[in-house]
Symmetry: C4
Subunit: 388 residues, 4 copies
């Protein structure tokens, strides 16, 4: 089911339709729906289910279908041999392959992102550093989050590498990602943020103690020696609530708008950014959001990156994580969803010409009057596209 | 009309000539004119027109032809189905697809570019920032504009991604881009700059009030707490008018010279920079112009990026946007055109061996004596190349 | 045995199985084991051995086999002609090709890495520098190590480009790299670090004399004008031994986890990072470790990069290289091995679905009860995969 | 002779052997010599000469052959039509195509490189800059030279893009680049540096006047307000002559060693850096030399980049350009040649397995005893490889 570029090793054609010959994952919507229009993949799909039957149990299949995943995990088939089948962990992993990928993707992302803030904040002004002024500056944080997202995407790989509940939700609404995947992805992404920030806390605990002045103090901005901003975002002092919201909203909208543009093979001109170029383009996108939209509220743009670490910092004893900035904490939970939806809808309205509810008659709202029909249609499309 | 890399889904061969099998857009001049010389695309073109007739109205076709666009918009055909055809917005979008792409490309570019200046300027010296010295330094601005252009190119995609009236004009003159596209592209690019800078103004309005000292003050350099330079460029104090002009001229000339080199598949040696590498190369090019030619006049090199935001800042109440720097405002409107033309002509004279008026007898000026003949010839070439 | 991309010049098909048509090296485990499962490469292999017999001596073959290398060095065959065969150095080089590649890869890596620290440290605060504040800052060091690793990988090329004994060991344990290669790679990598840091010492000896205050002084942190940190890492003062260990451990674990993800063609989704993208991804990975995990202990994460230069600095007279930081020196020797093993095992447990002992029944530990059988099986797999 | 990727427009097969189907230039040695060993290109070559006869004059052919270039310039054939043939400039350009490419490549490189030094030096400490501390720092200079080389390579393209006499010389000695090309390339590269630095001088003349304090003063380091270092390199004060030489020598050796590794398709493992990746890898290589080897002597590593601008600065009135640093000026003229030769020979000795005199018996020195035979052999190889 996986082929090294240029070397096809699979002898089972039916199972090779999950990945196109050039290694692209058909499960990605725009490509998948191309397949639908050729009408060729449905029969492959049935073949796959039967040929799968003898290598993974039907239990795994139904568990995966339950959470909106394709019954067959994207696993290299020749390695998934009989001797593994009895292993409980292998079964669990087969069921949760994509959520595990999201979990580790967010974990790696948050380790680099929060780690960069920790290093810059805690080493601030240290004269024994090479160069005499600490171990990094604000730009290091743009690097940290940018390359954290890039490497997180590489780690997540097969799951779609959303790494962000707001992006996942927008893909459910506009790109027919199964809604049933949303809760399990959300949970995995949140846990990735929680654990990832915990690793950074453990790594820099000596430095945090020294910076706060005591191992009992754990403060958040605007306290003068606060270290809470290592883990989650806190707004600038002079911001109105509307500006707090707008700042997260507009950054999230740009994030989603550009991601949809990068993935839109119908609007690439000569410049393809899907496939191998995507992680690098995301590095630049996140770097840019940090350099250009990072001042007001710290570009949270992601519930998993902000709420996960916030809860972790609350758990280890930080004071005021919820009340700071006028109970700001809900802004980076809500605004990214609004912003990503707005950005996604705007892209579909203005540029996207592929299949999107926005491009359907009445902007797809007509379907709300006959929900049962809409659900059936959606299911059919997802099955044909190899998503479930 | 669009193919996922390696997966051809189109069943209509005639319509696939707008994009080459590897996903490259033939509408790009150098490639298109290769096609002309093989004489093979003309018949495809007629086929396309007839097969298009039943899916988009002839109204759209003629509207597009009127503004110099190819009658058929580069839209994935299977998605442009009958049920959309009645939607007025879908029709408008089909007519204005390329100008919309330019609009959003410039908007994204200016959001990142102006956003980076705003963040660096407004957060200057803030000691509560991680690292203790603001949220960025001058280099952040090189990043902002560099990646803004890169991401803007990805967003613009099918339009050619010029994002700059001076580059558009030079392509009209030297690469046979239809002249009729120039005004609509210019308008779209200008509006992108206007709206993009307005988003940044809205996002940072609290910070601007705090920096200026009052919500009524809106000043431009050399006022001590001026924020006008967030949006458009103002020259250094010690510059003569000639140096102001030369600085913009030389940066624009280098911009156009290098872009033509990047796009010249006849001079690539082993190092192709057209296609997927182009946006990344542009990141380095714009970063470089910011790091090396940014001091004198702020490397405007683009009417859309300078005049659009300048008008926006005038509209929201900035004082002196026109008179500052000895009525400097016209320099970044005029010099980029002169510079890009000079750079383009120099490249064609010195290195380019493809079809350019510069390489025609009498450097193409002979054609001026028989304008009717020249127009006819130009039209023929454009039609054969699939441009109109 | 090597082909320029797209141009196959070899007339000996049997010898072309070491490299796939697209220039990828089959010797890399994941790809090689694909080949095994198709059962096609074994016969090629025998052919190769016989056809090799007349161009390199059997002495070279057996010497290479002795240190765990494939009997035939990956050398362009048409150049390895009879007139070279008599040259002793050519024979030595044929035997030691991969260790030489590791040696030079680490040497280049350490030249850039240690060089960046030297330049930033020694030029600190120099007001005659352009910009008025030295020749670089902490971020230059992230660049130096990041691009040092990237360029080191390009230089090492055919050896697998591990450049790090801990990564080599993890590949021996989890990716069936022959154990016999480990000692010779370790030695080569160590020597690369020793010589590379010696070059930097020679290059900056005037600056070191000036900074220390005398050509007789050679001090290490926390001495006020210490230059020992140019060559190897010293921990922050406030760190417990546990934090020292944890910091190196977690950075090494992330290093190995992400490298395994980058190389896992079974979990790449749409985003392949193996092949040509790998060195660039490693640049970002190492840059990120420097920006996010560099403060506590200086992200040694590599015995060759830390112990090699440490011994060099001891040899040229630095005082206290062993006792500094509470005899910290053993941490960057031991922790990277523990961390890389942990990161590799975690990846195999959580995400990897290819052939790994971790995915075998009883996590491969069962094999320990019948070591002879395990060794035989391992040998077979390696021979089939073209590794020995 | 040139093909858009994937679209072959040429109908003349014989002329397509200068570029391989994937757009790679066979004139690059390692690839070209592959062709030789297959023995297939010689006949193509004769065909080309005859078919060329009717489109460019034999005058152009012989002029090109005289300066060591292939008789036929790498020009897209369908554009080189009869109506151009009469144009004198078109003839000159056809003769000097590759030297012109080197000229403009170095010009662009020096514009960005010297421009970045100028901006950082002249704007030093300017508080009205965004961020309040000038328009860049030392790192901007690493960016400027790094991306200058990258963009210069794109501009130079077909010439081989050496941009450096020392690299050209090493390719003549070790990679059979015709010796007759050396003087014309050297001249073109030198002029590129001269003119490029002149553009920067013109662009920043107001700033230079302000910084020096008068339009009559033009000083070089160690004068307190010297601007001479914008154009060419001056050593640190505390350096011995030996250290000056060693610093340039070692940086040049690393430069050549890594470039040979990047271009060596016989040692690429999975990581190809020739072709499209080469310019980006060079960005990192030059950035690294600036960040790690830039302090002592400013990493000139290139006669064209140092002597060209030095002469320009002497011409416009700088005092002491020759005597500064103890008549240091000859170091960056001589050391790069020694270093590049050393680095190239070391690579060929230690890693390269392709055709190099170093890998011939007696390290190729035997040929010195029969020079006539050596010249004949060299000519044959070059003709077979399509180089002359």
């Amino acid at each position: 089911m996986a082929q090294a570029a240029g070397i096809t090793t699979s002898t089972d054609w039916s199972s090779s339709n999950l990945k196109a010959p050039n290694g692209k994952d058909d499960a990605d919507l725009p490509l998948a729906l191309h397949n639908i229009s050729t009408g060729g993949s449905a029969s492959h799909h049935e073949n796959r289910l039967s040929s799968d039957a003898d290598r993974t149990t039907s239990h795994v299949h139904s568990a995966r279908a339950h959470i909106g995943l394709h019954p067959t995990a994207p696993i290299i088939e020749e390695h998934d041999t009989a001797e593994h089948a009895g292993n409980v962990w292998v079964k669990i992993r087969a069921v949760l392959k994509e959520p595990l990928a999201e979990f580790f993707g967010v974990l790696i992302m948050v380790c680099f992102g929060d780690g960069s803030v920790a290093q810059v904040l805690l080493s601030q002004g240290e004269t024994t550093a090479p160069g005499g002024n600490g171990y990094g500056n604000y730009q290091s944080i743009s690097w940290g989050w940018g390359l954290g997202v890039m490497l997180g995407i590489y780690v997540a790989g097969d799951s779609g590498a959303y790494l962000n509940p707001a992006i996942t939700l927008t893909n459910c609404l506009l790109r027919k990602l199964p809604w049933r995947r949303f809760p399990i992805y959300l949970l995995a992404q949140f846990l990735g943020g929680f654990i990832g920030s915990g690793i950074i806390y453990a790594n820099y605990i000596n430095g945090i103690n020294a910076f706060e002045g005591s191992s009992n103090l754990r403060t958040v901005p605007p306290a003068p020696k606060a270290t809470g901003a290592i883990f989650c975002t806190y707004p600038q002092d002079d911001l109105t609530k509307a500006s707090q919201f707008f700042s997260e909203f507009i950054a999230s909208a740009i994030l989603m708008f550009v991601i949809f543009a990068l993935k839109d093979d119908g609007n690439k001109g000569q410049f393809s950014a899907s496939g191998s170029w995507f992680p690098l383009a995301l590095f630049f996108l996140i770097f840019g959001l940090g350099a250009c939209f990072g001042w007001n509220t710290g570009y949270a743009i992601n519930l998993a990156r902000d709420f996960g670490p916030r809860l972790m910092s609350y758990a280890v004893g930080y004071q005021g994580v919820w009340s700071a900035g006028g109970y700001y904490f809900w802004i980076p939970m809500v605004a990214p969803f609004c912003g990503c939806l707005f950005g996604g809808i705007l892209y579909d309205l203005a540029i996207f010409t592929g299949p999107s509810p926005i491009n359907a008659p009445w902007f797809g709202l007509k379907e709300l009057t006959r929900p049962w029909h809409a659900i059936q249609e959606r299911k059919e499309v997802q099955q044909k596209g190899g998503l479930v």
